[in-house]
């Protein structure tokens, strides 16, 4: 293969589906990758699986598959398209079953392979959490999930088994994109410079629209054409991992040096040591060249030996968050909202609500970055949120905001309240040998 074409069909679980369909239909792709697992998504999915043993995978899996499967496999007069996705979340086997069922309904003979082995919940004992020094054991019954970040191995194995669709659980985001490059070009597992370049491709693509003009526009400073029809990105990659980032001709959005630079640094700490299960990638010398409109060449990535340990994401229950909001408008809005805040805080103390943490702020004044402006806005919204050990306490937080209607300052409107269980996430490190990825056909 001379040039490999990989597209990005989702940057998170709830992402838009139309740009992915556009890529599948018009991208002339070899691979379409859907990255759908944020840090805590898998812990939430694990909870869903507990209530339904056949659940626990991405809620949009079926809808996405119905839309793109018709383009997967060997079509006449075009490349063979394969799909790779971590939409298996907490249950890749059930997700693979669902995809097989949908493929059958559509009359498609596709091979669907699941990658498992990331779930290490039952192998943990006294490991220490990186975040707060606690041990896993101290979480007791509150522990709900533990998933190691797998690298490329399972996916490469699935591609060798001739999978049309590869469904994984927790895999490091860039590995979803590196695996097909390694498979197609036959790169060795210790070819660090190529793995570093291939990881850059994955890192640039993994948030989908974020490299093609999404999450970028700042009118008058950074304008993006036809943002409403934002196209998702694809990479054209050569056998050394040199890549060009572009998108489907005619789609909205923009691929430029600036969009690529923003995505290059997104969620990166030390650019010379971007750690994945596959490689220690070095992005510190990366540069971008605009070859033509919406075609940007990435260069300068490298890599060193991979880390010896794998990161494990641990999900645990950590109480409840109760929240309430109420708007105030017109002259004196801020003064009335401030009085409302004071009243709610006093009432929460008077009725003895037990809270671990509390925030009370005015949206439009100080909710994002603390206080700043002295300008009187036309409207402002009070927001009170607290984390409580008991659900019953969390419920009372929202109630004390809602009851401002008849018990608070003049003119509050648009009350809302919510209670949600906190699924917190922490990390730990496991020796690589303790994690065994494998495929299920």
């Amino acid at each position: 293969m001379n040039t490999l074409r990989i597209g990005s069909g989702a940057g998170y679980s709830g992402d838009r589906i139309e740009p992915a369909v556009e890529l599948a239909e018009h991208g002339d792709l070899d691979y379409l990758v859907f990255e759908c697992l944020a840090e805590r998504t898998i812990a939430l999915a694990q909870q869903a699986r507990i209530s339904d043993p056949q659940g626990g995978y991405d809620p949009l899996l079926a809808e996405r598959m119905r839309r793109v499967l018709p383009f997967v496999g060997q079509g006449t007069g075009r490349r063979r398209l394969r799909l790779i996705t971590n939409m298996g979340a907490a249950n890749p086997l059930a997700a693979a079953g669902e995809v097989r069922r949908i493929a059958g309904e559509l009359g498609l003979g596709l091979k669907v392979v699941a990658v498992v082995g990331d779930d290490v919940l039952h192998t943990l004992s006294g490991e220490q959490l990186l975040d707060n020094g606690q041990t896993v054991g101290a979480l007791g019954e509150r522990l709900i999930s533990a998933n190691a970040y797998l690298g490329v191995e399972g996916i490469v194995q699935a591609l060798r088994a001739d999978a049309d669709v590869v469904i994984t659980g927790r895999v490091a985001d860039p590995s979803l994109f590196l695996a097909p490059q390694m498979f197609e070009f036959g790169w060795a597992f210790d070819d660090w410079p190529r793995l570093g370049r291939g990881t850059l491709v994955g890192h640039l693509l993994e948030c989908a629209g974020q490299v093609s003009g999404g999450y970028f526009a700042d009118p008058g400073f950074k304008d993006v054409e036809d943002l409403a029809r934002l196209g998702f990105p694809l990479a054209e990659i050569d056998a050394d991992g040199n890549a060009l980032i572009t998108k489907v001709a005619g789609s909205g959005g923009r691929v430029s040096r600036a969009t690529c630079a923003e995505q290059l640094i997104y969620e990166v700490h030390d650019p010379a040591a971007y750690l994945t299960p596959d490689v220690t990638a070095d992005f510190s010398q990366v540069g971008f060249v605009e070859e033509s409109v919406d075609r940007v060449r990435a260069q300068g990535a490298s890599g060193r030996a991979r880390p010896e340990q794998l990161k494990v994401s641990v999900g645990y229950l950590d109480g409840w968050i109760g929240e309430g909001q109420m708007s105030y408008g017109g002259p004196g809005a801020v003064a009335r909202a401030e009085l409302a805040r004071e009243v709610v805080l006093k009432r929460l103390a008077l009725i003895g609500v037990n809270m671990q943490d509390l925030r009370a702020e005015l949206i439009g004044m100080d909710s994002l970055h603390g206080p700043r402006s002295s300008v009187e806005p036309w409207e402002v919204r009070l927001r009170v949120a607290a984390r409580c050990d008991e659900r019953s306490d969390a419920v009372r937080v929202g109630n004390e905001v809602e009851t401002l209607y008849t018990n608070g300052p003049a003119g509050g409107g648009g009350a809302s309240k919510s209670v949600r269980q906190v699924v917190a996430v922490a990390s730990l490190l496991l020796p690589r040998e303790a994690v065994k990825p494998r495929i299920e056909e």
Binding site: A43, Y215, F221, A258, E262, G287, H369
Partner: protein, 106 residues
């Protein structure tokens, strides 16, 4: 002059650490950013939001994209899963930082 006129920014989160890129629109402005946008300056800008006991703010340079990357440990106070903040990811932090004033040499 506001930083907003010379540079753009994107904010990312990992656990309770935020990273903020500051990218010069024009290569010739990058040395000015390197000189004036120190880790100390960014620390002072976010002093009300930073966790006092957390590790210090780190600055990394990416010369080929004329960018700085600031890493702010602890600023997300428990991270997106536990934080009570309206913007629990801290996605808006970079936009706020663009309000910094720069001194343009005459």
């Amino acid at each position: 002059m506001k930083l907003h006129t010379l540079a753009h920014s994107r904010t990312g989160d990992k656990g309770d650490t935020s990273n903020i890129s500051i990218i010069a629109y024009r290569a010739q402005d990058y040395p000015l950013l390197c000189e004036q946008l120190t880790a100390e300056r960014v620390t002072a800008f976010f002093k009300d939001l930073l966790e006092p006991l957390a590790a210090p703010v780190q600055r990394y340079e990416l010369p080929n994209v004329q960018a700085l990357n600031f890493v702010l440990p602890g600023i997300l106070r428990g991270g997106v899963t536990r934080s009570l903040a309206l913007d629990a990811h801290g996605k808006c932090l970079g936009s706020a930082l663009l309000d910094l004033d720069l001194t343009i040499p005459t």
